[in-house]
C-alpha cells in the first residue's frame, strides 16, 4: 500500500495509458509528474481540467501523445510555452488535443465515478467546441422534450493526486480546495496518491475529503510533492516559481537545460518518497 514514489509510478503507469494528474491549483502532484518524466514514459494521454506547468513539463519532455483538458495555462501568469510549441510546431512530438469546458470535464469525471457512461449538463451550446470535440452531443429530456448536452464518462487508467496525509492503511485525507480529485480517483481504474506525510491516525479536519483505502491502489510519501503549488496547512504557493517558469519554458534550450538539471539529474522526490 505505502510504496516509494518511483515504485508506485513503475507499477501503476504504463506507456500508452490515460493518466489524470488532478489538482485544481492546490495539491498538484508535481513530484509524481517529474517521476513520470524520469521514467521516460511515452504515448500517455494526459487528462486534466487545468493542465499547468507540470503538464507543460511532461509535454515538453515528450511523455504525451494527447491532452484532454479544459484550460491549459500558467495560472495568473499566461500561456504554457511547451504546450504551445507542441500544438503549434509538433515539438518534441505532435500533441493531439481533446478540448472541453470545465463544466464538461467535471461532469465527465462525475459520470466515471458514478459508473454510468455519460453525463448531462447545460453546456457548450452555441460554442465552436462542439465542432472540434467529437465527444460532445445533445440529448433530449424524456419528460420535457428540452434539449441538453451530453458528454461521455472519463475513466482514466490511472489517477494521480496529491494529498496532505494518509494513514498506514492507505486511507487518504485532503482539505482546502479539494477540486475534482475525489471524482478523478473514483473514475479511474487505478489510483496513486502522493502525500505530505503518512501518519498513525487521521484526525478529522473541517472541509476534508477522505478517500477510503479501498479506492486507492498505492500511496507514496512525497513531502513537498505539490511544489510549486501548495498544500493547505503545510506550505504556500510559490508564486515566483510560476512567474519564473514563463522564462524557463519560453525557449527549447532553456527548458531542456532545466529538465536535465532539475528533473532528470534529480531523483530527490522519489527517494524522499521512499524514505519514511
Amino acid at each position: 500500500m505505502i510504496v516509494p514514489l518511483d515504485e508506485g509510478i513503475r507499477e501503476l503507469v504504463h506507456d500508452g495509458d490515460t493518466v489524470a494528474l488532478e489538482g485544481f491549483t492546490h495539491l498538484i502532484p508535481v513530484a509524481a509528474g517529474h517521476e513520470i518524466i524520469r521514467q521516460g514514459l511515452r504515448d500517455l494521454t494526459l487528462a486534466r481540467m487545468t493542465p499547468d506547468i507540470v503538464y507543460d513539463q511532461m509535454i515538453g519532455a515528450g511523455c504525451a501523445r494527447k491532452l484532454v483538458f479544459s484550460w491549459g495555462g500558467n495560472p495568473g501568469v499566461g500561456s504554457l510555452h511547451r504546450f504551445r510549441d507542441a500544438v503549434q510546431n509538433g515539438w518534441p512530438a505532435p500533441l493531439e488535443i481533446e478540448e472541453h469546458s470545465h463544466a464538461g470535464m467535471a461532469n465527465r469525471y462525475v459520470a466515471g465515478a458514478s459508473g454510468i457512461p455519460f453525463a448531462v449538463l447545460r453546456g457548450y451550446t452555441g460554442t465552436d467546441l462542439i465542432a472540434q470535440t467529437p465527444d460532445i452531443t445533445t440529448i433530449t429530456c424524456p419528460f420535457t422534450g428540452e434539449e441538453l448536452t451530453a458528454v461521455p464518462a472519463l475513466t482514466p487508467d490511472v489517477a494521480i493526486v496529491h494529498a496532505q496525509r494518509a494513514d498506514r492503511a492507505g486511507n487518504v485525507q485532503l482539505w482546502g480546495i479539494t477540486g475534482v480529485q475525489k471524482e478523478a480517483v473514483l473514475a479511474s481504474r487505478r489510483a496513486l496518491v502522493t502525500v505530505e506525510e503518512v501518519v498513525d491516525r487521521l484526525d478529522p479536519v473541517p472541509g476534508q475529503v477522505l478517500l477510503p483505502a479501498r479506492v486507492v491502489t498505492a500511496v507514496a510519501e512525497a513531502p513537498g510533492g505539490a511544489r510549486p503549488s501548495y498544500a493547505h496547512g503545510y506550505y504556500a504557493r510559490d508564486n515566483d516559481a510560476y512567474q519564473q517558469w514563463d522564462a524557463v519554458s519560453r525557449e527549447r534550450e532553456t527548458f531542456e537545460q532545466w529538465l536535465r538539471t532539475e528533473v532528470r539529474g534529480n531523483a530527490r522526490p522519489a527517494r524522499e518518497g521512499g524514505r519514511t
Binding site: L80, Q88, E99, S101, H102, Y124, T125, R237
Partner: protein, 251 residues
C-alpha cells in the same frame, strides 16, 4: 509642462467595472482584472459582494489579491468550499449567480468571446489557454460583464473561435439556443464602456472614459462602431477608489 495623469487607463477600467457590482450580488470571479475589480468593489461600496471562484470557494473574502483562482487565502476566508463539480452543477448551472466576470482574447460585435485559439483551430497561429469555466459562465450567469483592453487585435469583426457565446448572431439568438442568462450586458475597456443595443444586441459605445475621443475607440474596434445617442463620459475614479485599488495591486 505636462501634468502626470491622476490615474492610469487600467485603473479607470478597473474602477468602472467595480462600480457595476452592488453589495449582496453573487459574482463569479475570474483571475486578473475581474478579480481586482471585484475585490475593489467589496472593499468600497459593496462589502457584502459574494465572490465565487471556480475552484469551489463560495463567499471568499481574501485580504490580498489572489494570483490564481485557487489560492489558499480563498479557501481560508470562504463561507464554505465545495467541490469543482458542485460549483458548476449546483451553483452556476441553475442560475444562482448574478454576475459573471470574463476576459477575452478576441471579442466581436455581438460580444462573442474567443479564449481558445488565434487562427485556424487545427493549425493555430497562437494557441490560447482555452475555455475553462467561461462557456457556462457566459451561458448561465444572470448577466455577464467583460473586462478587456481595447485594441483592434482584440475587438474584431468576427472571432476566430466562439469559446463563449455572447449574443450569437444578434437579437433572439440566446433565447433560440436556450441560454438562460442575459449574456454580456457590458464590456468595460480602458477606453470606455460598450453595451448591447437593446434591439439588435450589437455592442455600442455607451460611455467614454475622460480624455478619450470617440474616434480613439472607433480606431481600435474592428467593426464600424455605433455610438449611443446619449453617449456619456465615465465618472473619474475618486480618491478612495484609487487608494484602495493601489493598496490591492501594490502600485
Amino acid at each position: 509642462m505636462t501634468t502626470t495623469p491622476r490615474y492610469t487607463a487600467d485603473e479607470m477600467m478597473t474602477v468602472t467595472a467595480a462600480r457595476f457590482l452592488t453589495t449582496e450580488m453573487a459574482c463569479f470571479v475570474g483571475i486578473g482584472l475581474p478579480s481586482t475589480a471585484a475585490n475593489l468593489a467589496r472593499r468600497t461600496h459593496a462589502p457584502n459582494l459574494w465572490m465565487i471562484y471556480e475552484s469551489g470557494t463560495l463567499g471568499a473574502k481574501p485580504d490580498t489579491l489572489p494570483l490564481s483562482i485557487g489560492d489558499g487565502i480563498l479557501a481560508e476566508t470562504a463561507d464554505t468550499v465545495v467541490s469543482v463539480p458542485e460549483i458548476f452543477n449546483y451553483w452556476l448551472q441553475p442560475g444562482r449567480i448574478d454576475i459573471g466576470f470574463l476576459g477575452a482574447a478576441q471579442i466581436d460585435r455581438y460580444a462573442n468571446i474567443n479564449t481558445t485559439v488565434i487562427g485556424d483551430y487545427s493549425d493555430p497561429k497562437v494557441r490560447l489557454p482555452g475555455a475553462g469555466g467561461a462557456p457556462e459562465i457566459a451561458a448561465s450567469c444572470r448577466e455577464v460583464i467583460v473586462i478587456v483592453r481595447q485594441n483592434s487585435r482584440t475587438f474584431v469583426e468576427s472571432v476566430d473561435f466562439v469559446t463563449s457565446v455572447g449574443h450569437g448572431k444578434g437579437a433572439g439568438q440566446r433565447e433560440q439556443l436556450g441560454l438562460t442568462g442575459l449574456g454580456p450586458t457590458r464590456v468595460i475597456t480602458d477606453l470606455g464602456v460598450l453595451e448591447p443595443e437593446p434591439r439588435t444586441r450589437e455592442l455600442t459605445l455607451a460611455s467614454v472614459h475622460p480624455g478619450v475621443a470617440v474616434d480613439d475607440v472607433r480606431a481600435t474596434t474592428g467593426w464600424e462602431l455605433q455610438v449611443a445617442p446619449d453617449l456619456a463620459v465615465t465618472a473619474e475614479p475618486d480618491e478612495a477608489e484609487l487608494s484602495v485599488l493601489r493598496s490591492l495591486t501594490g502600485s
